[in-house]
């Protein structure tokens, strides 16, 4: 990683103006490639090794590629430890929480961006301030609330509390500010109701911001750990990360199965990222996160 960055400020790199000499360009590409390898290598290593047999995994020194690609670990992981339950729980929580987040965040953002009402600025500042309150800090009192609502050990307890993400409201509000008021006013004159305007005029214009919020909501919920660790005390409501951490720390299951589960848990988010990735940079650029 250091090789990618330490030498770089000196290199000619301002392609936004003119063309750097060949040597600088070469150095830059080599540096970027080296850095990218540091980032990707451990993950690729884990992915490749998940196809190794148990005896191959314990061999020293380890071989780069598995001798034969065996799906043994995957079969075993899927067949034991209720892996399917954890997977289904993770999928349900991620999808439901993301849909809920999108629904309530966009509505709140629309109110904050496009209406004048008493208390608006106060509510917006409150939203900004709570970005700073990490869940870890209020973990116990939130647990109290969830527990008094009887939501401990239920998927709803995993879905609802995290749904009102302040970051999502912030990103969407910043984006909605760029939508011209005249558009909304014109729809009103045409007799459209407030909710119809929101749904048919505003939402279709917010696709990049919606993509950003979707991506991050899926990443956050799929990978959530601390909150599910606290709420999901019963194995039947474990999500993948909770199951992984619990099983890994107990050292009761062989490492090859932990590896297979880890790799399986990576696949869905990577696919989603590849589908939505072109929205990420433009989305971040346009949503005022910068």
């Amino acid at each position: 990683m250091s090789s990618a960055t330490v030498g770089t400020p000196r290199g000619p790199q301002w392609t936004s103006t003119g063309r750097p000499p060949g040597l600088g360009r070469l150095l830059r590409t080599v540096g970027l490639t080296a850095g990218a390898l540091v980032v990707i290598a451990p993950v690729m290593w884990a992915a490749l090794s998940s196809f190794k047999t148990t005896s191959e995994l314990s061999r020293r020194p380890p071989a780069l590629l598995p001798q034969t690609f065996s799906f043994e670990n995957y079969g075993e992981a899927l067949g034991s430890f209720d892996f399917t339950t954890y997977l289904i729980n993770s999928v349900i929580v991620t999808i439901a929480a993301t849909l809920l987040t999108l629904a309530i965040n966009t509505m709140a953002a629309y109110a904050l961006a496009k209406y004048n009402f008493r208390g608006r600025d106060g509510l917006f500042l409150l939203t900004l301030a709570t970005i700073m309150i990490p869940l870890q800090v209020i973990l116990l009192p939130v647990y109290e609330v969830v527990s008094s609502l009887g939501l401990v050990n239920s998927l709803l307890g995993l879905i609802i509390p995290a749904a009102a993400t302040p970051t999502g409201v912030f990103v969407l509000r910043q984006y909605m500010l760029t939508i011209p008021d005249d558009l909304i006013e014109a729809a009103r004159i045409d007799g459209a109701g407030e909710f119809a305007i929101f749904r048919r005029v505003v939402l279709p214009l917010c696709v990049p911001a919606l993509a950003v919020v979707t991506i991050f909501s899926v990443i956050w919920r799929w990978n959530d750990f601390l909150w599910p660790l606290v709420v999901a005390q019963d194995e039947s409501v474990y999500t993948l990360p909770v199951a992984l951490a619990r099983l890994n720390s107990q050292q009761v299951i062989p490492f090859n199965l932990v590896l297979a589960m880890s790799v399986l848990s990576i696949v869905p988010v990577v696919i989603m990222f590849l589908l939505l990735q072109r929205h990420i940079v433009t989305g971040i650029a346009q949503t005022g996160l910068k």
Partner: protein
Amino acid sequence: MSGSVADGAPAGVRSGAGRSRHRRRGSPKSRGQRWAPYLFIAPNLAIFLLFVIWPALNGFNISLYDSTNGRTFTWAGLDNYRDVVTDEDFVAVVGHTLVFVVCFVVLVTATSIGLSVVLDAQRRGRAVFRAAYFLPVLLSPIVVGVIWNWALDRQVGLVNTLLDLVGLGRPGWLVESSLAMACTIFVGIWIHLGFYSIILLAGLQGIDPSLYEAARLDGATAWQRFRHLTLPLLRPTTLVVVILATINGFQSFDFIYTLTGGGPVGGTTLIVQFIYERAFESPIRYGLASAAGVMLFTVVFAVTALNYLVGRRSEAI
């Protein structure tokens, strides 16, 4: 964040103009229009109040009580705060947290700036590189911890296997305390680098290219252009990254849980793990954990506000 606050100003002006135009036409707001914002904001606000605002206030309240089971509470006043600051474990944990946060914030900010500048300059394969560096952002911190714990294993790890090949021996990465802390910082950077770089990349792409053209015509070297153009113009974005990194740094827990488990002998236990263990592992000290939580929030809030104010002021100068 500074950029966003600035963005807010014209918006207020704009909607204000909309309202006066409305008034000029003489049509008062319809009933639907008057109630709509409250209905729109209600669901989000309800969840927000119930699961964030109320608990935040309540957390302060709990920190003034003593409880070993989370059901019965006895008044303790400031005892929990006294107990926590005199707790030897807590003092050690605060030390580790400070070392971690300072190293993490400084290194990850510098690395992200470097990476974003290089990525911005790179034309060929930029999308591929961008995706590659973003990969760790997608991973569960738990999985990251599992993977790096294994990669750094003294005997069968990828890192030591490679080092051994070139004759550098087999350091006990996660066995020695200071090395384990260094590895924890490294993995923290590894996780967040991609996201911060993309934020900075968005900032870089907002810089007017003609400024570089002018500097080039004036004979500025690449380093001078970086030092006197890029860095100052990137400052608002850098501020966002520093603030995010500070918050994320103080919150670090998940990946450490599976990377080192907080070990060796507590050497990489940070404050969130301390809070978690006091609250949910026996002997349970609920109030004490809450007191530590309140202190963490106060510190994070203060540091963020400080970052913001210092960032704003240096911008003004």
